[in-house]
C-alpha cells in the first residue's frame, strides 16, 4: 500500500540514493503542480518528503510546502534547522555541523575505500548514517574482498561506540541487527515520486534515467502497470533472502537485469557482506554482555548471492 510521496522540488534536487542527477539546469516544479501534488498526498493519506536543490527556494514555495506536515531532504549546502535528512555528496564535510542529524552519505566505492576511516567521527555525532555506494553495481570480485575488510574495520569502530555508551544507527552494520523482516526501499509499492514535470515515477531514478517511463500524472492520477512486480512477494530471489537491510533497489535491478523485481549479483553480494558483518558485530557485542536479547541471532549462510537458492534450473 502506498504510504509515502516524494516530491522533487527542482530538476537539480539532490539525489539521496543510488541514482545520479543528470539534469544540470535548474527547473523548479510549478507552484500549481506543487499544490496539486500536496493535495494528492493529502487525499491519498501519504507522508510527503520534499527533496531540495542546493539553492534557496522562493518564499512562495516555502509557504505552500508549509501547508502540510512533511519531512525535508536537503543537500549539505542548504542545511538548516528545518532539515530532516541531510545529504552529503562528497567527503568534504564538517562533522561538527551534523550533530544528531540523519545523514545520507553518497559515495563511490573507491572513495569509501579510501576515506572510511573518517566515518568514526561522523558516527560519533550523528543520530543515523546511511552510506549509499553509488556504483555498487560495478564493484568487482576484488572490490568485494576489500569491502569485507572495510566493513570489518567499521564494525570495530561501531562496537567501540556501543561500548562507550553511544548507539549510532548505521545502515551498513546496525540495521540488520535491529530488524525482524525485510525493510527495503519499496519504490513503486509504498513510495511514489512526483517529478518537476508533474508526472509520477516509481522513484526519482526513473525520472532521470527513463523519463518516458512515468506511472501517471497529476491530471489523470497514478497508473502503475504491473504494480505487483514492485512487491517483495513477486521478487523470486529477494523473497527467499534475509539480508533485511538491503535497499533492494528496483532501479538498479532494472538497469542491471532489465527487470525491476530481479537484483544483480553485485547488489546481492554487497548486501550479504553487510549482513554478515552485522552478524559478526552482533556476536561480538553479545560476547561482551546482554545485547538485544529479544532479537534472534543472524544465521551463518553458505552463499553470498541468494540466486543460488532461488534458481529454478540447477
Amino acid at each position: 500500500m502506498l504510504q509515502y510521496l516524494v516530491i522533487l522540488l527542482d530538476d537539480t534536487s539532490t539525489s539521496y540514493c543510488h541514482y545520479g542527477v543528470n539534469k544540470k539546469e535548474r527547473r523548479l516544479i510549478s507552484l500549481d503542480h506543487l499544490r496539486q501534488g500536496i493535495r494528492f498526498g493529502m487525499v491519498e493519506n501519504l507522508m510527503i518528503q520534499f527533496v531540495y536543490p542546493d539553492y534557496a527556494l522562493p518564499q512562495e514555495y516555502l509557504d505552500v510546502i508549509d501547508t502540510i506536515d512533511h519531512s525535508n531532504i536537503k543537500p549539505m549546502a542548504v542545511l538548516d534547522n528545518d532539515t530532516d535528512i541531510v545529504v552529503l555528496n562528497s567527503w568534504d564535510y564538517d562533522a561538527s555541523k551534523l550533530k544528531d542529524a540523519v545523514v545520507v552519505l553518497r559515495t563511490g566505492w573507491k572513495q569509501l575505500n579510501e576515506n572510511h576511516g573518517m566515518l568514526k567521527d561522523l558516527l560519533a555525532v550523528v543520530q543515523r548514517l546511511n552510506v549509499v555506494i553509488t556504483d555498487v553495481e560495478r564493484m568487482t570480485d576484488s572490490d568485494r574482498e576489500q569491502y569485507k575488510t572495510v566493513l570489518a574495520s567499521l564494525g570495530k569502530e561501531v562496537e567501540q561506540l556501543y561500548v562507550d555508551g553511544k548507539s549510532p544507527q548505521f545502515n551498513l552494520l546496525t540495521d540488520r541487527m535491529m530488524l525482524t523482516a525485510m525493510n527495503n526501499c519499496n519504490a513503486g509499492d509504498t513510495t511514489i515520486t512526483l517529478a518537476p514535470n508533474g508526472k509520477f515515477y516509481t522513484c526519482p531514478a526513473f525520472y532521470y534515467e527513463e523519463e518516458s517511463n512515468s506511472v501517471g500524472d497529476l491530471d489523470s492520477g497514478l497508473d502503475i502497470k504491473n504494480k505487483q512486480l514492485y512487491r517483495l512477494d513477486h521478487a523470486p530471489i529477494c523473497r527467499k533472502c534475509d539480508a533485511w537491510q538491503c535497499r533492494r533497489c528496483t532501479w538498479l535491478n532494472r538497469k542491471t537485469t532489465l527487470e525491476v523485481n530481479t537484483p544483480s549479483h553485485e547488489q546481492c553480494v554487497a548486501a550479504h557482506l553487510e549482513r554478515n558483518a552485522s552478524r559478526d558485530l552482533m556476536l561480538s557485542l553479545r560476547s561482551k554482555g546482554t545485547f538485544l536479547p529479544d532479537k534472534e541471532e543472524i544465521k551463518e549462510l553458505t552463499y553470498l548471492d541468494p540466486f543460488e537458492i532461488a534458481t529454478q534450473w540447477k
Binding site: 523470486p236 532489465l258 527487470e259 523485481n261 530481479t262 534458481t311 529454478q312
Partner: protein, 395 residues
Amino acid sequence: MAKNITFIVTKDCQLACKYCYLVGKNEKEQMSWETAKAAIDYILSHEDEFREESVIWDFIGGEPFMEIDLIDKICDYLKTEMFRRNHHWFNSYRFSFSTNGINYHTPKVQEFIKKNISHLSIGITIDGTERKHDLNRIYKQSNPDGSEHGSYRDVVRNIPLWLEQFPGGATKVTISSPDIPYIKESVLHLYSLGIHEVNINCVFEDVWQEGDDKLFEDQLMQLADAIIDGGYYTDYACSFYSENIGKPLDPELENQNWCGAGKMLAVDAAGMFYPCTRFAGYSLREKKPLIIGNVRDGIDKNKLRPFLTLDRMTQSPDKCKTCEVASGCAWCQGENYDAAATSTVYQRATAICLMHKARVRANNYYWNKLYRKLELEGQREQYEKNKREVKPVDC
C-alpha cells in the same frame, strides 16, 4: 538435459507466409563466417558455463538451408573444435533444422545430410492439404498472372525422401484463427503422406476471433472421431491429445516455468546473444530486442537471472493461479514480453485461454471415447503398454 543453441543464420526466406511472426524478415542480414566462428569460440571456451550434458545446435532463419554453405562450414568447425578441445559435448550433440523443405533435395543440402545424418534432426513444415498449405505458405514472388504462388507442390515432392532419411520425421503445425476449419483434414492428410507424428499448437499471439474456441473444439472432436474410428491411434500421434492436460496445478510443487528461454541461447548475424530467438528484433512487434550479450563481450549473467528464476505463479494473473484446467496451458516468454504492459518477462499473456479450454474439452472427449472403445475391444492394457509418447510442443 540438453542445451539448445540457435544460430539465426539468415533473416531471408523464399516464402512470405501470411502468419509468419518474423515481422522484421529481410534479405540483408546473413550471418558472416567470422560472427559464427566468434560465437562458437566463445561458447566452447566457456565450458564451465555450459554444463548441460549435451547440446542441440539449432539453425533457423528465415529459411536456414538458403545458407547451406555457411551451415556446412559451421558444423565442420563445431565437430573439429569439440574434438580438439576434448569438450564434453563431443559425441553428445545434434544439429537441428526447421525448414520449409523447398531446397531439401538439392545436391548441397543432400550432401550435408549424408555427411551428418547420425547427428541430425530435420523438421519440414507442411500445413496440411494443398488448399490449406497454399492458403498461407506462398512464395514472395507471385505467379506471372499475378495470382499467389503456393509452395505445397515443391514441399510435398520432398516428403518421401525426407521420410526415407528420417523415418520418424515429425512435422509441426501452427494454428491461427483462419486455420481452424482445416485442422481435421490437415492432420489426416499429413498422416496420409506417411508422417506419423504431428505436433500442433495454437499461436500465442492475440489473434483469436469470437467463436473461434467453439469452432476449434468442434474440429478437435471431429478429428478425435476420425483418429479413433479410423484406428490411427495405434501408430500415429497428434500432440493435441494428451492425458496430462486440463488438470489444476499445485502452486508450489508445479510452479515451474513453461518455456525454456534463458536455458537456451540464440545468436544472430550481428553477433548478439538472446535468451531465445523470439527476443531478437525481427520477431518482436512492440518491444526492443532483449540482448543478453554478444560474441565479443560474452553473456551478461545478470540479464539471465530473471529467466533462471521465473516461475509460473509469479508471472501468472490470478485467473491462472486458480485455474482448474491449468496443466498444459502453455505460454511463450517472448510473446509474454512482447505483449506485456511494461518491459518485463514477468507478465503472462493469456490470449490462448479460451483455446486451451476448448482443447481440454475435446481432449476429455478423445480419451473417454478411446478408452471406452479399447475396453469394449479388450485392448486397453495392450494399448497402455505400447503407448506412443508425444513430447509437449513448447513453441
